[in-house]
């Protein structure tokens, strides 16, 4: 059996993974990255708007932290939020020193622009393709440092010990499948594993996310016993192109773009959704406003609204938003210099994720997570635009450093169950969630934990067996059919507007998907570049993650941030100032809660009404 051994194994090579690898390397660790894509193909490259960082006079980290906490609807944890705001400026400067081609002011300093929900124009950017430049700049640093990259190796399982209590478990490495050859190999991590696998956008069918964003890391950590936190909080971006879900950056509104409905009304103001901030209200507010307009019969073709930037003038558009003109042309056939762009809300970002502390550590020893797959928690119930990129930098770097040092030191935030956690006892689930057959059925109910001893070898053996099983099975169901059903029910029932019966319908549909997945078969018999197999494994991850989103959405009987419930139209701070956690316990999801940390370094963040 092939085992590749390194100090630190980083899974995923987007922004968070690259940053973690660089940080671990700077600590002197032997680092390797394992990714199902070549690094430059990662979805960080599609991020457009920018990186929030308090760099200038008149701004400071406390303002950034305050805006972030308010944006989170008081579900961010103060220690994580403040860490983000404190570390972001240095991260931006590091990127600049690594050569990132930021947009510049006349004096040569890095430009900043206004973004939704920010009290200061603190969003640094590189045109409307900030993520692309960030991804390439960090990959350049990985090349410079000679960090080993195993690209087009798909990590399918974590190697963890099987102690009864997840908090006693240890992660010693991962199992990977090489696309090119079909080889299954072990990757042993002497010090730590960092998951940086991105979001689960493919749980929805209208999403800005790449087809590769299938929640792999979240699903693997979940099955290994790490709780997923606040998964019901899914961001729907207000400006995506209707036919494809391609993202139109918030930078358009930041530069002065206007939203109007089919009657030509600037509805953010004229219908009172955000009398102060208008188009630059927080993303959840704008998405709901758009759909309310469409539902009231004021949408265009009953589907979308218009985003207009013509008045900005050709020069400003081509200077700061040129990429948007190309996207509108190529993917919607609209000339944005001359016509308004059709836009509607689309799934964009998962606020929740793998529970970590502010150092990126999970409750399993040796297992770290950072970026969209993780939840520290910075974004709480709603992420502000321009906060995802600093998050992946700040927590990617911290996770990398701590993984390199095997360092569990000094975190303010706790992980796992504590005296303060409380169980969910009244969940009205319509079907039994979790594995169809928790005792057997390796494609539908693996636990991710194997006996100690040769933990990694055992995991490799199990994974080989699982993959063989899928390749051997005859007359099965095509994964694409199952995936489409999950995506459709999530988009229909667990979208911007959520109501109890709809969420229950989604849980029933997910249950059906699980049952059908037991019969899934891979038609392509080849060992060479078998994407049929990869997509089949991904689909299992989508099912697990979608279920946690729906369970959280059903449990949370309030309206907070991105989570809107028809039956519960208020934020209920007395009852719900707490995080939702879902733990996979022997094949069954178990819901529980833990309090939010609102105690900052210099102040307590008192929940206030969130208006823009």
């Amino acid at each position: 059996m092939t085992v590749h051994e390194h100090d630190v194994i980083v899974v995923g090579a987007g922004g968070a993974g690259l940053r973690a690898a660089i940080a671990a390397h700077e600590e002197g660790a032997d680092v390797a990255m394992v990714s199902k894509l070549h690094p430059v193909r990662s979805h960080t490259g599609a991020a457009e708007g920018g990186i929030n960082a308090a760099l200038r006079e008149g701004d400071d980290w406390e303002l950034h932290a305050y805006d972030t906490m308010k944006g989170s609807d008081y579900l961010g944890d103060a220690a994580a939020v403040e860490t983000l705001a404190q570390d972001a400026p240095q991260e931006v400067i590091d990127l600049e020193h690594w050569g990132m081609p930021f947009s510049r002011e006349e004096d040569g300093t890095v430009s900043q622009r206004p973004f939704g929900g920010l009290s200061f124009a603190r969003t640094t950017y590189a045109g409307a393709e900030t993520g692309h430049h960030m991804l390439h700049t960090m990959y350049e640093q990985v090349v410079k440092r000679g960090i080993q990259v195993y690209d087009e190796w798909y990590v399918t399982r974590l190697a963890t010990t099987d102690h009864d209590e997840p908090a006693d478990r240890e992660c010693t490495g991962v199992v990977g499948y090489e696309l090119r050859t079909g080889e299954v190999a072990g990757f042993k991590a002497r010090n730590g594993v960092v998951l940086a696998t991105g979001g689960p956008g493919q749980a929805f069918d209208h999403t800005t996310n790449a087809v590769s964003c299938t929640g792999d890391g979240q699903a693997m950590a979940y099955r290994a016993g790490v709780p997923l936190e606040d998964m019901e909080f899914v961001q729907f971006h207000p400006t995506t192109l209707p036919s494809t879900g391609v993202l139109i950056s918030e930078g358009v509104r930041g530069e002065g773009g206007i939203l109007y409905n089919s009657e030509g009304e600037r509805f953010m103001f004229e219908h009172g959704y955000a009398n102060n901030e208008g188009e630059l209200a927080s993303r959840d507010v704008v998405s709901r406003a758009e759909l309310t307009e469409v539902n009231a019969g004021r949408g265009v073709e009953d589907e979308y609204v218009y985003l207009d930037m013509r008045h900005l003038g050709e020069e400003r558009i081509s200077d700061r938003l040129e990429n948007i003109v190309h996207l509108a042309e190529d993917f919607e056939g609209v000339n944005a210099y001359e016509e308004p762009m059709p836009v509607k809300p689309g799934q964009h970002y998962e606020m929740g994720g793998i529970e970590t502390n502010e150092n990126g550590a999970t409750l399993i020893d040796g297992l770290y997570a950072a970026g969209e797959c993780a939840c520290a928690s910075v974004h709480g119930a709603n992420r502000l635009g321009g906060n995802a990129l600093p998050e992946l930098l700040v927590f990617g770097a911290r996770a990398g450093r701590h993984a390199a040092a095997s360092d569990r030191a000094d975190a303010k935030l706790e992980t796992g169950r504590t005296d303060e956690s409380e169980p969910e006892e009244n969940l009205d689930a319509p079907v039994e969630p979790g594995a169809v057959d928790a005792a057997g059925g390796d494609t539908a109910a693996d636990g991710g934990a194997v006996a100690s001893g040769d933990v990694l070898e055992g995991a490799v053996a199990q994974e080989r067996q699982r993959i063989e099983g899928m390749l051997e099975r005859d007359d099965g169901v095509n994964h694409a059919d199952i995936r489409a059903e999950v995506q459709q029910t999530m988009t229909e029932n667990v979208n911007v507007f959520r109501e109890k019966e709809g969420i229950k319908k989604a849980l029933r549909d997910i249950r059906e998907a699980r049952k059908r997945y037991q019969e899934v078969a891979v038609s392509d018999p080849s060992r060479t570049y078998n994407t049929d197999l990869i997509h089949t494994i991904e689909t299992r991850n989508i099912i697990d993650v979608a279920e946690t989103i729906a369970l959280g959405a059903l449990a949370r009987t309030e309206f907070r941030g991105a989570h809107w419930r028809a039956e519960h139209q208020e934020r209920k701070d007395d009852e719900w100032l707490k995080h939702t956690l879902v733990s996979w316990e022997e094949g069954r999801p178990d819901l529980w809660y833990k309090p939010v940390d609102l105690q900052g370094e210099n102040k307590v963040y008192e929940p206030k009404e969130r208006s823009y």
Partner: protein, 292 residues
């Protein structure tokens, strides 16, 4: 296509034909293949009966599957909807007709650079190529001048090697002394390098280049453009620029370019690659490093 890939497969075929005791794997492969062909035909017939379909002729090859070890073209008749791209059609063909149809794709919005293909005889990104702009049947092939791994997937290693050969990372050593202080870069200089920084590493340019096809060591348009991106960036010091020019002037560097503009024509991000190469040639002359 590498001939090395064909040999082991040829042996496998012989084994399967001669040996009465098949391995379970062989049997599985054969049965699945047979089953897939029936379904494929049925679905193709159904699609053909629909109102409007687009015919794709897609290159197929798999060194490991007996039916596909000889390269061939498969026809897919995909129901056409307005705004459909070549990538949309390939995804439809894969999900509805033949799940073994293999191609790279990820972001669907022309930034990940995964799906550069040879479509109706030219290098394009499948995700931003509208079917309505193409003559039918639409011929879809892997990028020329690279080894085919399977179907539309090519080996990108050589491309990556060339990209990395030009030391594609910032090497400036003088940073401002102040804490949290950035290096200054004029908006004009940022504008100068802007187009060069748009490269998404799709490999379309390299595949279109006759020189690269004939000289495997030629750095190629993408790598030279990457070098341009740093050489023109005022944040790097002069001695580093000289170092970069020496790399550009090596035997397989800028002087190989014969300004045929094929790279510029196919670049999906509209990078003026040939101009950048020409400018580096002029810089080389100017810097008086007459190694050539």
């Amino acid at each position: 296509m590498s001939t090395e890939q064909d040999e082991p497969t040829a042996e496998t075929t012989t084994d399967a034909d001669e040996a009465p005791a098949q391995t379970p794997g062989d049997r599985r492969r054969e049965e699945k293949q047979a089953r897939m062909q029936v379904t494929e035909r049925e679905r193709a017939e159904a699609a053909a009966a629909a109102d409007e379909t687009v015919q794709l002729k897609v290159f197929r090859f798999d060194p490991e599957v007996p039916e596909k070890e000889e390269p061939r073209f498969d026809d897919f008749h995909v129901p056409y909807v307005q705004g459909m791209t070549v990538l949309d059609a390939l995804i439809y063909a894969r999900d509805e007709f033949d799940s073994s149809l293999t191609f790279r794709h990820s972001c669907r919005q022309a930034v990940c650079g995964s799906d550069a293909l040879f479509i109706n005889g030219s290098q394009r990104l499948a995700c931003k190529t509208q079917l309505s702009a193409l003559d039918a049947p639409v011929r879809v092939e892997p990028l020329p001048h690279q080894d085919v791994v399977k179907d539309l997937v090519v080996d990108m290693e050589h491309f990556y090697d060339q990209m990395e050969a030009v030391e594609p990372y910032m090497q400036s050593e003088e940073f401002p002394e102040g804490e949290l202080e950035e290096q200054r870069q004029s908006p004009e200089n940022r504008e100068k390098i802007k187009m060069s920084t748009r490269c998404i590493w799709c490999g379309a340019c390299m595949s279109s280049c006759n020189i690269a096809a004939g000289d495997n060591e030629y750095l190629g348009p993408a790598a030279i453009n990457k070098a341009y991106r740093f050489a023109m960036d005022e944040r790097e010091e002069d001695d580093i620029k000289e170092h970069r020019m020496r790399i550009m002037e090596q035997e397989h560097g800028v002087w190989r370019c014969q300004t045929q503009f094929s790279c510029t024509e196919v670049c999906p991000k509209d990078i003026p690659l040939t101009e950048h190469i020409q400018e580096l040639k002029r810089e080389a002359v100017k810097s008086n490093l007459k190694f050539w």
